[in-house]
Each structure stands twice: as C-alpha cells, then as structure tokens.
Symmetry: C2
Amino acid sequence: MSHKSDIEIARAAKKRPIQEIGEKLAIPPGDLIPYGHDKAKVSRDFIRSLDGRPDGKLILVTAINPTPAGEGKTTTTVGLGDGLNAIGKKAAICIREASLGPCFGMKGGAAGGGYAQVVPMEEMNLHFTGDFHAITAAHNLLSAMIDNHIHWGNELGIDTRRITWRRALDVNDRALRSVVTSLGGPGNGFPAEAGFDITAASEIMAILCLAEDLADLEMRLGNIIVAYRRDRSPVFCRDIKADRPMTALLRDALQPNLVQTLENNPAFVHGGPFANIAHGCNSVIATKTALKLADYVVTEAGFGADLGAEKFLNIKCRKAGLSPSAIVVVATCRALKLNGGVTLADLSKENPNAVVEGCSNLGRHIDNMRKFGVPVIVAINHFHADTESEIDAIRAYVAGKGAEAIVCTHWANGSKGTLELAEKVAAIADADEAEFAPLYRDEIGLMDKIEAIATGIYGASTVSADPSVHARLKRWEADGYGHLPVCMAKTQNSFSADPGLRGAPSGFVLPVRDVRLSAGAGFVVALCGEIMTMPGLPRVPAAESIGLDADGNIEGLS
Amino acid sequence: MSHKSDIEIARAAKKRPIQEIGEKLAIPPGDLIPYGHDKAKVSRDFIRSLDGRPDGKLILVTAINPTPAGEGKTTTTVGLGDGLNAIGKKAAICIREASLGPCFGMKGGAAGGGYAQVVPMEEMNLHFTGDFHAITAAHNLLSAMIDNHIHWGNELGIDTRRITWRRALDVNDRALRSVVTSLGGPGNGFPAEAGFDITAASEIMAILCLAEDLADLEMRLGNIIVAYRRDRSPVFCRDIKADRPMTALLRDALQPNLVQTLENNPAFVHGGPFANIAHGCNSVIATKTALKLADYVVTEAGFGADLGAEKFLNIKCRKAGLSPSAIVVVATCRALKLNGGVTLADLSKENPNAVVEGCSNLGRHIDNMRKFGVPVIVAINHFHADTESEIDAIRAYVAGKGAEAIVCTHWANGSKGTLELAEKVAAIADADEAEFAPLYRDEIGLMDKIEAIATGIYGASTVSADPSVHARLKRWEADGYGHLPVCMAKTQNSFSADPGLRGAPSGFVLPVRDVRLSAGAGFVVALCGEIMTMPGLPRVPAAESIGLDADGNIEGLS
C-alpha cells in the first residue's frame, strides 16, 4: 500500500501529451483544443461529426449512502476504467469537475485518490479549463441584466419582491448567502433582498450538463424563470435578452474536457452540478461523446444511489436517451460497519456481524437499481484493515441477493486491483441484459413523481407537504411543466430526510418543505430538509495549508 | 478604407499557430503553454532562463486626453509594432487584457481595430486565458477568509466597521456597489456593509501587474491591508493566512499571454488594471519578458499621458527598473478640434484653426513627457475626413515644439500605414538619447508627490485636501509607507479634475477628496473626484447584441 499522498502520486505521474490520449480514441490532434499540454477540449465540430456512429456500453458507478468512513466512488470509477483498458477493452471514464470553492474549505478535490486518480490533479481542482468561471460569468451577467432592466424603467413589470434569480460565485462564503443589494442611492438601483449560491448550484450548471448542443443550450437558458410579475406570470431569461450573450460566454465551456488517468487512459471531466438541488452527473455531451469513441464508458453519479443514481437514471438518462448496461454499487467494510451501528472510533476492529447488519443499506440500493431494469454488481473498495470474515460477510449477503461482490484494490494497485471487476462488468455489459426504464412516466403528476421516488426508492410510507407546495405543483402542471422529472434535494446520509438514520429505514414520512422550478434545466426540485447552496469555510480552512513550494508546485491539495 | 467591421476583419485573419509566433521570438514550443491553437502562456521556467540577457528598446504609446471622438492608442500600438516588423526589426507589442464586464455594457474590447488588431479578438474579449477569473477567485477567497475569521471568533481583533477589503466580480453591476452581507442569522456571520468592485479595480490586479515573480507576488499579496483594529493598527492579508492559497490561485495567471497581430507579429497581452485607482499598464513580467526576446517593445498606458504615461513612468518604470527610449503621443484631428472648442456635431467640418487651438492639449503632453527625459514623437492617427490643412496645422505646431508629427493610416492599411512612424521611432530609440528619470524622488513626502504631479503634469496651481487627508498621509509616512509612489485617480477627460475642461487649463486647484493605501500593490491612491470602481450597464447594454451565429461564431463584439 502506498504511503505517498495523493498529490505526490499525482505529481509523479508519467503523463502523456494530451494528443496521445486523444489518439487512443481516434480524435485528430486538430480537434483537440489544448489547455496546456495535458488538458484539452474536444471540438464542437468533431463532436458533430460523430453523429450516427454506434454507441459503446454505459456503466454507472454508484454507492451506498455516504458515511464519514469514505466509500470511494470516484476511485472505483477511475480504477474500473483503468481495469477495462488493462484487460484490453477500449474504455473511457466520465466524471464531474471539481468545484473550486470547497477545495479551500474542507473537502479535497474530485479527481480520485491513491493509484486511481485523474491528472493533472492540481489544475483540475483549481481553474481547470475555466468552465466553472464561464458559468459564474454567465450567471452574474443575467443577474446584472435583470437589475439593469428594472433600474431603467422595468418595462417587463417585474415584481421586485419576486426575483427568483440569485447570484453565483465559486467560493465558500457564508456572508454571501443572504444580502441586500443596491444600497447607496438611486444611481445604484432599487434595494432588494438577494443572495449568492456556489457556482455548482447554479441552474446554469445543470443546464450545461443537460444540453445536447449550443442551440439546445441557448433554448434552455432562455427558458430560465428569473422573476414573477404581480400577477404571478413568469419572466424568462429570454425576456431579459440575456440568453444569447450567456450562450456566447458558455460556448467553449460546453465542449467536454479530456484528461488522463495515472495509467494514461482517457478521462472526460466535464460539468459539476450539485447532487441535491441539481442532478449531480457529468455532462450529457461528455457522456455521449465518450460513448461514440469508446466501447465502454464508466461514469459516476453524486452521493449514494438513492440520490445520485436515481437522478442519473430518472433525469439524465431519461432526457438524453441514455441506457446503462450495468450498475456498480460501491461499498466498504468500514462504511457498512458504520451502517451497522459501530462508532467511528471502533471502525478498525473486526466486526463481521456489524457488516452484515449494515448490509441492509447496500441491499436496499441493489433492489432499487434493479427497479430500473439494469443488472447490478457490487465493488468492495478494499481498505487496509478489512478482514476476510468481513469481506466474506458482504460476499455472502450480496450472493443472497443474486448478485456478486468483487474486492477491488485500485487505490493501492491501480488497474491491477480491478481486473476481476473489469472482467465481470464487461461480461455483464456484453450480455446485453439491461432493459432500462425510468422509475415513473413523464405523464403522471409532479406530486405522484415525488411519491414514486419516496416510496419506491427511499422506503418512505408517504410524503407530507404544505398545501402551498401542492398548490405550486398544480400551478406548474397547469403552466405546462407537469411532464418534467423531479429532482430530489435530500440529505445524502440516509434514505430518509434524517441524516442520522443509517441502514435501511422504512415506514417514515418524507417531508417536502419546498419546491422550486428549474424551467431551464428542465426539472422540479423538491426540497426535503435544509439544503445549503452556499457552503461556509470551517474554523481552520484547507486554504491555510494550500500554497506553492519553492519550485512553484502547488502544495496542500488532496 | 475598410468597410468591414472589426470582428469581420478579425475572423478573416490568417492566424498562424501560436508556436510559430513564439518561434519568431525563439521561444521553444515546449515553453509555450497553449490555450487553444492561437493563444499561449510563456512558461515560468523559460522566463527565468532569460535572466541576464540584454534588453531591447522600450517604446511607450500614449495620447492626448480622451474625447468622444476617439484617439486610437491601441490601434497605434499595434500598427507601430507591425510597422517595425515590416521594416525588418524584431519587435513585439505589450498591451492590456480586456475586462469582460464592460464588453457587455458600452465599450468594445481592447484588441485594437480595423487592420491594426490583435487576434483572436473574441476570446480576448471574453475569457481569454482565464487571468481575470483567477484574480476574481483569489480576491473573493480573501474576502471569505476575512469574514470566516471573524465568524469563528475574530482572534485578530478586527474592527468589523473597518474592513477595507471589498469583493470583486468581472461584471457591470451597479446593484453590487453597496450591499449588506451576512444577513439571515448567526450561521451566516455578522451583518456588515460591503461592496463589489469590478475585477480590473482589484488591488490584486495591480499586484499581478507589478510583481516580478511568484515570490514577489506572494509577498505583495501578504502586504495587502484588509482591515484595521480598534486601535487603528492594520490587519494584513498574511495575518488571515490567505497569501499562500491566493498565490496558488494566481500561479498560472502570472505567466504572460502570447497572441498575434493580424500581421502575425507577437503580441503580449497580460494584465488589465484600471488606469484611475490603479496604474493602468500591462504586467511588468510581460514587458520584461518581451524586452528580453525582442529588439523593440511597443507598449501602451491607459487614458491620456497625464494619467497613463505619468503612472507608467512614475510607478511601473520606477519600480520595475524600466527605462523607455521613446514616447509616442497619439492625436487625431477630430480630437484636437474637440479640444479646440468644436462640438461633436461639427467634427467633420474642416477647421484648421480649431485644430491649432486644440493643440494646447497636445503641447502640454509633449512638454510633460520631456520632463521625464524621454524623446517624444507625435502620431497623427488618420481619419477619413481629415484634411491636409488640418494635418499641416498639427505638423507645424509640433515642429514648433521641436518634435515631429507623423501621419499613420494603420487602421485602414495595417503596417503599410506606419512605415514612416516605425522608421522614425526606431531611429530615436537607436540614438539612445533618453535619460529617463521619474518626476519625483521616493524620499519626498506623500503630499509633496501629489503636488509634484498636480503642478508639474496637470498645470494646477495647488492642491486642496481636508485635514483628515493630510493626517492619513502623515500616518502612512510614520508607518513606513512614505517611500511609495502616488497613483492619481482623476477624470481622464481633462488635465484638471473637471471633465468638461478641455485643452490645457492651468491655475486651477486640484481637490484631493480621499486617499487610499494599496500596500500590496505598493502605491498610495489619491482620489480627485468621483471614481467609479463598479460600472453599471446602460439602458440598452451591448449584451443584447452579443450572441452566436448558426456556426457558433460570436457576433456583436467590437
């Protein structure tokens, strides 16, 4: 097992020029728009030229509910991609971009870890190819144009108390959550309540990740509802005339980014929407491009399978016409022990009984994934202190569900640690046994969709919501938004809305506190609990450890 | 004369791969960090390897006071650079980056115009290589860390009423000028008055443009004063521990950008500080790198010579040890007529007398530049309606000053329109007659420096300021900041603080309303009048015309 830090391993990587990585997918060098020597965007024109080619097999990596023990979804995605390449398959991975803000707060980056990483890690965790910055710029241009419209006479009759479009910044800054703008006199506009969300939570991020091409992007941007009039009729982004300049700002960002794993295999890293108020997957364009270029595409979805995979399947796959061939559910002995009631302090003690107890969480996720008609396999992401008895307990439990659990050691060993998983996954995908269908039909009511997820995936007995929530959903149905899928914003730590409830709780009532319409992204958000859209920094932020060494290398990222 | 728009000309440009442009300056391809095929950053390591090489000649392009008629400083810079190359000299240009925000407001970009442009124009006016975004991110990280420090207990004892560090965003948004943050309860911090400046006005922009290398950048960032305590002692950025992560965020942005003119000559485009509250020149690193690689480097400073050139000489050249060989003052018949009392409506009518009248403005600038010991030449940027009698009037006036005025038609003809200017400028530079010295010595008092500029450059009889202003300057002298140069923030439209006063006013009193200490950038700002650090959008913003055509080309930029 490695004793090097992630950043040390990443910096020691023998990176190949990005053109060589592109070559593996037959992308001509002229169609790679370089950002440095190790990052590139794939050109719009090349992507257009792929129309009509057959698609590879799509494999989703998801996980049990996140715990403080760590599950390793991204490392497994990277490891499986490398494993498939190692057994001679043409495979690519598709993951999300890291958000800059949180890198300076608590969490590390989003590029994997150990010997299952994507590089260049430092750049990917900071500015990368500027996609997040472009989204921030487009977001705040719209904000400025709304206030400017009101300042110059408000011809559209916007009710200034009902501006729903906030501002965005890729920083962890609690001071910006709730602000009052336009103070200081008439020259500065009309004072108003406002606030900032982190860029990953911007509806524009979700739009960029769901858009099929530039025309679709512009249409979706135009569809954003930015405010309401006194008569409650919506004012759209296109009414403000911001959709076209925003599209210009996002033109380059819409092209997917190509980088490489430590083993020099192609990785598309594109888009990074929140997995609570948005759908939490990498971009449709990246996934579709990868499917045209590789025989196997491994992708991941945010948080556990109840949030991330559910949205991947019900929102992204439904809307983009994608159809996964296999689903990998990642679990660890440690996390299952936590689910089985063990405390953090006792995690390193052997405890197969607690593992079995915690497998209820894993089991629910396996059952859930099968409801979408897709074959499931479990990856046991191996940690140093795992014992044979614990691993056997998982294997036996999963076998009892009619599936297989494979031990993976990619963190320590790279592709050598995922050869068996890769063989099994390829066999499942090649068998073509998936019969994917979303959980609910477009035609049912919005509240029925929420209930379908709450009871069918979460194990709730029912949903509770204020009459005002019901009324809003009805209104949106009347306004023509009833066909949209629902995007659940719930704690990632439990099937329920109570983050402390591990395992596989059932019979609870899921409270829907609020609903929001993301008319541009194309979904209705159901908020089940407090969802933070602008993080704060901890008492000792990670920023304090980040800096340059004497050679200009970045230290302190992980 | 061309009837094509700037963007049409730019898009029709026969661009060469950026590696070929680098080759002209003997930059190895591996030391160019590409951003697409037509933009690159020059690597830190390569720049370090240039140490000890002899420098080329530095030529400053400046202008008379700006008028609505337009002067064409950037086009002349580009045209002169192309002209020098056309007569067989190895020349490069150094200009500033465009600010994204104003592109969507009123003004066009900052890439020249007609046949004297730098390309790729669209990218340069939008995200370019992400430098502005990196500055925005570093700026707001510091803001977040200050508020976070206070939120978690305020160990440094910051007086929350005396936080001087604002926030920054590259957008024209009047609503953000004055805000109240941290509303919504204790979880969001302590409510405070705050505000946003446009990124070009961030002290970090000035720092990036004055830093010699990464170590100097980090030191200057650490020196930023972010707040004061109750006892009025300063709290520095390094007390907040933000200097190192900010340096990490700015690492790549510090490397200068290489692009090309329409004639495929090298252009360094790097940094873009405001020319009022900051010094308004491109980066020291870009200028110094260009001087190591080219025999002639043509650069420009913001606004007229009273603001831009004065700061270029008294701040940038002084601090960076640069020494210009020649100064080109740009004038137009139209602008001189405006200075001579003609109205905008009558500008197209021949009026040599008004030209002569307006030459008082040009004459003052010529005299001023000579006070720095640098030879001066005048470029008459030719417009269609200019008449021989008017041009002759300028020629005669300038000859009377013992200098030469050369007609240039680069806008219509590219380098063919600046051959004579290029020959003359090269001859002046080669004659090595410049004996550059700043206008004032480091050792004199801060108010004495303000007075030296007011009387020596502006023609003021004296300076007026509140006792509180005098007291603050004295305090900063006592605190060890007395050696800093002064950065004047004054209207660009007049030598005086009254924007309506054209020509060469004298005998007026210059009112210094406020002073600010930019301890990181290393200058004291003297505010003479209302200076806007966050622009607003006009009634019909340019954004409404910006968008993509069916092929994904950007329309509406100019």
